[in-house]
């Protein structure tokens, strides 16, 4: 009998524990439900309008410029957008891309992951929600090319970026040269690794930052059909050429090179417009030169990748909120947003009409990016590219940091890239 009683008591204890422990989270749930209810009603009172969520993984200042403009333009229509930051955006989209409850309506990101997301079937073609001919009218050709995957447009380009030659006017001696050989001579004369002072720094083992050399030499990281080109003769030539630069550019890590430049330990850096706010904070008198103004030994200009930042639409909201989505896309492609992005954030707008504006014409940064865009190549946007960065950077790191034999490393990582690409299927 005693045993029966005790066993019942035990059961009670377990249940009690379960109930007792469950209480705390239960309360929270209620609390959060209440909160949810409150904000729902608030929204309801505010307007009958539609709220669109846009996920991004970029600079908050840029996003708030766009958010503010779009909300002003669409206030009367009762449409409100909010830009929400999500780290590891593509990973999050893989999970939440088809989640109507928690997922976003649109996303704002670089164009190079487009193919991957499109193949997953979570993106809607822009033509599903809007007449693309009208929408694209004022937009730059190169950017439109970049956002097309398999002859379908999946994004509306908003602004684009390329690498630039950024230099510290207070440190740079003389004129900035026009050829890479002269640049190297300058680096040799002005680099003292023991003292920690450098002529020009670059993320020398990051594929994106070496691409100007590779593309300029006529090599490629990956061609349009998705074939890796690490063992191409021209790629190897470019990497060999870049190697001697790398030896004078510290360890080439993002944190290292930006800090070196911002602290006045490096006279110049090859970097993108995203570095500018940090440079301004550091109080540096910044000079800018387009990479396409540097010629390689073969007579061609450095040809960086261009990255197009644009907005894509998720399938579920294209179906349920198509009209509102269209209006937001139009607003984001508009001249007003373009001008504000240039003036407030130094972003090179994809809208061609923007460049007729006098404020824009005075923006050295943006004009240099725009100029570089003529020789720049849009990053490939095919899904294969997502596995290509890894082998390409491993190749560069092996050559620049571990003194590997270039041709052998090229073959090794070419093979690795081929395997990685076959693994996608």
């Amino acid at each position: 009998m005693k045993k029966i009683v005790s066993s019942i008591l035990c059961g009670c204890m377990a249940a009690g524990l379960a109930a007792g422990c469950g209480e705390a989270p239960g309360e929270q749930q209620r609390a959060s439900l209440d909160e949810g209810a409150v904000s729902e009603t608030e929204k309801g009172q505010e307007s009958e309008g539609i709220h669109l969520k846009i996920w991004h993984d970029g600079d908050e200042a840029i996003m708030s410029t766009m958010e503010k403009d779009v909300n002003e333009m669409l206030e009367e229509e009762g449409i409100r957008v909010s830009f929400e930051k999500k780290t590891a955006l593509t990973d999050q989209l893989k999970l939440y891309g088809t989640d109507e409850v928690n997922g976003p309506d649109m996303y704002f990101y670089a164009h190079d992951s487009l193919g991957m997301l499109a193949e997953m079937g979570i993106l809607a073609p822009i033509s599903d929600v809007s007449d693309t001919a009208a929408l694209n009218g004022e937009l730059n050709k190169m950017t439109l090319e970049a956002v097309e995957y398999k002859d379908t447009q999946y994004m509306v380009p908003v602004y684009f970026e390329t690498l630039l030659f950024l230099y510290n006017k207070g440190l740079w001696e003389g004129e900035v040269p026009d050829s890479t050989d002269e640049l190297y001579a300058y680096m040799e004369a002005h680099t003292d690794t023991d003292a920690g002072t450098y002529g020009v720094v670059n993320q020398h083992s990051t594929a994106y930052n070496v691409a100007p050399f590779i593309n300029g030499f006529g090599g490629f990281i990956m061609d349009k059909e998705g074939n890796p080109g690490l063992n191409q003769a021209q790629t190897i030539e470019a990497v060999t050429y870049n190697q001697k630069f790398a030896a004078l550019q510290a360890d080439g890590d993002y944190n290292t090179v930006t800090t070196l430049f911002n602290e006045g330990k490096a006279a110049a850096i090859i970097g993108g417009p995203w570095l500018v706010s940090g440079i301004k904070d550091a109080g540096i008198d910044l000079g800018i030169k387009s990479l396409s103004d540097f010629t390689l030994p073969n007579g061609k200009a450095l040809a960086p990748f261009s990255g197009v930042q644009g907005v894509g639409v998720l399938k579920q909201s294209a179906e349920s909120k198509g009209d509102a989505v269209e209006k937001v896309l139009k607003a984001l492609a508009s001249e007003k947003v373009g001008v504000d992005l240039v003036v407030n954030n130094n972003c090179a707008s994809a809208n061609e009409k923007v460049y007729e504006n006098s404020d824009v014409a005075a923006n050295e940064m943006v004009l240099n990016i725009k100029k570089t865009a003529d020789t720049a190549r849009p990053m490939p946007n095919i899904p294969q590219m997502s596995v290509m960065w890894g082998p390409a950077e491993a190749f560069l790191a092996a050559v620049n940091k571990s003194n590997a034999d270039i041709s052998a490393a090229a073959e090794e990582f070419q093979q690795e890239a081929v395997t990685a690409i076959s693994d996608i299927q």
């Binding site: 008591l9 989270p25 929400e84 780290t87 999970l95 602290e263 706010s277 550091a282």
Partner: protein
């Protein structure tokens, strides 16, 4: 006798010296981070080892406390870690007591199975849990995360507590059984106080796990104001655009301080109840 005393205090002096050195070595990265966090810009970085550490400023701490929803994140962290700790320790205590005291079929096999299950890398589980929670609408909720965290730490807690329960002599319980105490009373009145150090240690571990976890937090919670400290900080630093090392190190120091305070406070409770009362008495 006097000689021995001198020898003993000399030993203590040496020991103290050793510990000061060990602590210093341990704290070097943290001290360096702290130095960075109270200097403006990242000048401490580029400076020499002994010079130009930048000007002293609390600006970075101020910025974190005012510009980021730090206090909100702190609250979320507290809620999540307390919820998880209560749930995980509550469940694990009863389970580990059962595994320690009862002899039943499959007992050892289950214990080993648990160890094996724990070996499955948790990062690989993310996708499956996501699918499951999506159908139960547990995404973007604290309850969901507490379940994930408690489940992740459950096996560890069971093993840890069981190990300690095993060291408590069964005679103590039998004595109280003769006094007419039920299993339940016995567990609460006798076993739990005896196992206090183990329970506290295990609870602290669960707490720290939740406090420092960021992958599930940033994946399963969707809005910035629901993030935990670790998750919010991760979001802050993961951005190449605005990475500021002095800001980051300030946040790192701030995140660690609450745990250290807890540590300092619980230490007096961590003296074993076993040696203090049980066996000797």
């Amino acid at each position: 006798m006097k000689k021995r005393k001198i020898k003993h205090s000399l030993g203590l002096v040496c020991l103290n010296a050793v510990f000061i050195i060990v602590c210093f070595i341990t704290l070097v990265p943290v001290l360096y981070a702290f130095l960075l966090s109270v200097s403006d810009g990242s000048s401490a970085f580029a400076g020499n080892l002994f010079g130009s550490a930048g000007h002293f400023t609390l600006e970075n701490y101020k910025r974190i406390l005012t510009e980021e929803p730090f206090l909100l994140w702190l609250k979320n962290s507290v809620v999540l870690s307390l919820g998880t700790t209560v749930l995980a320790i509550g469940f694990a205590t009863t389970a580990s007591y059962a595994f320690s005291r009862y002899r039943f079929k499959g007992r050892m096999n289950i214990l080993f199975l648990l160890v094996l299950l724990n070996a499955f890398p948790q990062i690989l589980s993310m996708f499956a849990i996501f699918r499951l929670f999506k159908s139960f609408r547990l995404l973007d909720s604290n309850v969901g995360l507490i379940i994930v965290y408690a489940g992740s730490m459950c096996i560890f807690s069971i093993w840890n507590l069981k190990g300690y329960f095993d060291t408590i002599p069964a005679e103590i319980e039998e004595a109280s059984k003769i006094d007419g105490a039920s299993d339940f009373q016995m567990l609460v009145r006798i076993v739990l106080p005896l196992a206090r150090p183990a329970i506290i240690v295990t609870a602290v571990m669960v707490l720290i796990f939740v406090w420092n976890e960021y992958l599930f937090a940033t994946t399963f919670l969707l809005s910035g104001d629901k993030y935990t400290l670790a998750g919010g900080l991760y979001q802050l630093q993961a951005n190449d655009y605005s990475r500021s090392w002095s800001l980051f190190t300030a946040a790192a120091v701030l995140v660690s301080v609450p745990i250290l305070i807890i540590f300092f406070c619980i230490q007096k409770y961590m003296v074993s109840g076993l040696t203090a009362g049980g066996v000797k008495g």
